[in-house]
Structure formats: structure tokens, C-alpha cells
Symmetry: C2
Subunit: 142 residues, 2 copies
DNA sequence: TATTGACTTCGAGTTACTCGAACTTGCTAT
DNA sequence: ATAGCAAGTTCGAGTAACTCGAAGTCAATA
């Protein structure tokens, strides 16, 4: 199964620009057809999944590249272990992200409740974190 | 309770540069002492909490600014409602983030398992998404 | 033959920091 | 008094990871 740039980008909810960028910096392997257009195969899909996931953990392009480079080195216990270490570290980041997102969502739930109470006229808007008093109110900007 | 730039930055695990940046673009209100140094109070803390949370939802500085501007407009049902809308939208993003992070973590768990199996010598490294075959292996790049 | 649509490269712009240089201030130690 | 130090200041340049747009190529269709 082969994919054009457009199809491939769509599969991953990415822009064609971004996919082009990834191929340009050699993150994502791709072949070219006779008119020099990028073509992607199942392998590209696998790769992109891995890249998207590392990205999802918050890994930088540099780190992802490092991982990719390790993958294309001749396989040995050392390179395998190095890859494993990166994956371990990034997994931790992923779990940290879940917790952060949960805390954020909880805070937002509170805010929503608060606004709903104010809007329904139940309480006045005085306890809202994020309201300035006169003397700390910054100047209008832009 | 008053805080120096350094203390304030520490409280939020941010760099002094970032806090300075936020005050410069008028996101975060701050007063100055007689030697022109920034000083932060409890109100700044509240504000920063709000900003950090919106950031945590993935909101752009522009959106956060918009929210801040609404907060400092004379209070009315409309501005209150507009604020509420922003909060609602961002809360959704926060929940989306939880789901994404969960999916990412699950994928990473699989990867970890996979690597542990390979490293313990149980299976060869052939089924790993993220491994190139000879002909799609990209050139070494920096 | 002309237009269409998807592609190409390349260079400039954007966001949200991030860093460093050069300078000022107030405090302590000699 | 003065020298040094840690903290602050402004300002301008640099960075990551895109993001956009211009100008051009190429194959298929009307």
C-alpha cells in the first residue's frame, strides 16, 4: 500500500508542510516516484506512528532523531539498550502528562462551576482567581 | 506576602526569563519596588495559577491574553459569558489531553514490554515498528 | 492547448520562549 | 570608603518546530 503526501498527512492529522519537514530533516524515510514526488509505504506509517508517539510524550525532535539514529545503527545489545532507555524515559513523561492533564482538567472543572454559579446569579464574582483589583490592573496592551 | 522575581519563578517552576516575558507582554501584573525590581503578591500568584492552567490546556498566549483582557474589562454579563466560553473550550482541550496522554502511555507500555522481551533474549527484533529495512533506511544525518 | 491539482524547493515569518551582554542596586566584608 | 557579590534591570539576538507563500514542475483531463 502506497500513499501520496496528501494522503499520508491526512492519516496523521498533520499538514503536508510538516510531513515534508520531517522527511527533509531525515526523521521520516520516504521514496520518490519518477516525477520526484514523495511516496510513503506501510513502513513510513509505522515510523510515523513511533514519531507521533514520542512527540506525544513531549520528546524533542532531537531526541526522536537520536532514537531513529539508534534504530538504523547495526543492531547490538548496546544500541538496543540505549533505545530502551529512551523509551523508558519517554514513557515516564507520558504518565506525567496524564497526571498534569488530570489536575488541569480538575481546575478547569472548578472554574466552569464557578462561572456557572455567577452566571446563574447565585454569587457575585469576587472569589475568582484571575481578577485584578484596581491597583494591580495592568495597562491595556495591544 | 510579597515575592521577588526569583522566588516567584521558583514557585511555578518557571525561569526568571519566562516570568519577565509574561510581565513584559502584560499577561502577569506586577508592581515594582523603589529600585525598579519586580515584586509579586498573592494576586500575582492567583493570576499565574490561571495562566499556568490555561497553558496546561494548550491555550496560546493570544488566547490567554484575550481571557485576561476580558477579566479587566468592566464586568458585565457579556464579558463574563465570553470568559466562561473560553474556559469551557479550554476544559475540553484538557480532557482531550488526558485521553491523548493515556493512549500515548499505553503505546509506550507496549514498546517497553517489547524491548524487555528482546533484551531478555526471548524474541528477535523483527516486529518492531520503527525499524527500517535496508532499502528505506535514510542517510545518516548529523 | 489550457487549465487544474498535486506536487517540488527555498526562503522568510511566527510563537513562545531562551540566552547573553552590559549595566544598576543594595548589602556585606575588609 | 571600597570592593565584591548576588540579585535585579533592559534590550537585542537566537532557537525549536513548525507555518506560510512564492515560483516553478508535471501529468491528466476538458
Amino acid at each position: 500500500m502506497l500513499y501520496t503526501l496528501k494522503q499520508f498527512a491526512e492519516m496523521f492529522n498533520a499538514t503536508e508542510h510538516t510531513i515534508r519537514y520531517y522527511t527533509d530533516i531525515n526523521l521520516l524515510p520516504c521514496q520518490r516516484d519518477k516525477s520526484n514526488h514523495r511516496i510513503f509505504n506501510e513502513e513510513s506509517v509505522n515510523w510515523m506512528q513511533g514519531i507521533a508517539c514520542l512527540k506525544g510524550c513531549g520528546a524533542s525532535i532531537e531526541v526522536i532523531k537520536e532514537y531513529c539514529n539508534l534504530c538504523r545503527l547495526p543492531e547490538s545489545r548496546e544500541t538496543l539498550y540505549a533505545r530502551y532507555q529512551i523509551i523508558l524515559r519517554q514513557r515516564e513523561q507520558a504518565y506525567k502528562r496524564i497526571e498534569e492533564a488530570k489536575a488541569t482538567a480538575a481546575y478547569m472543572d472548578e472554574k466552569v462551576q464557578h462561572y456557572e454559579q455567577i452566571l446563574s446569579g447565585l454569587i457575585p464574582d469576587d472569589s475568582n482567581p484571575g481578577t485584578w483589583t484596581e491597583d494591580t490592573r495592568p495597562e491595556k496592551h495591544e
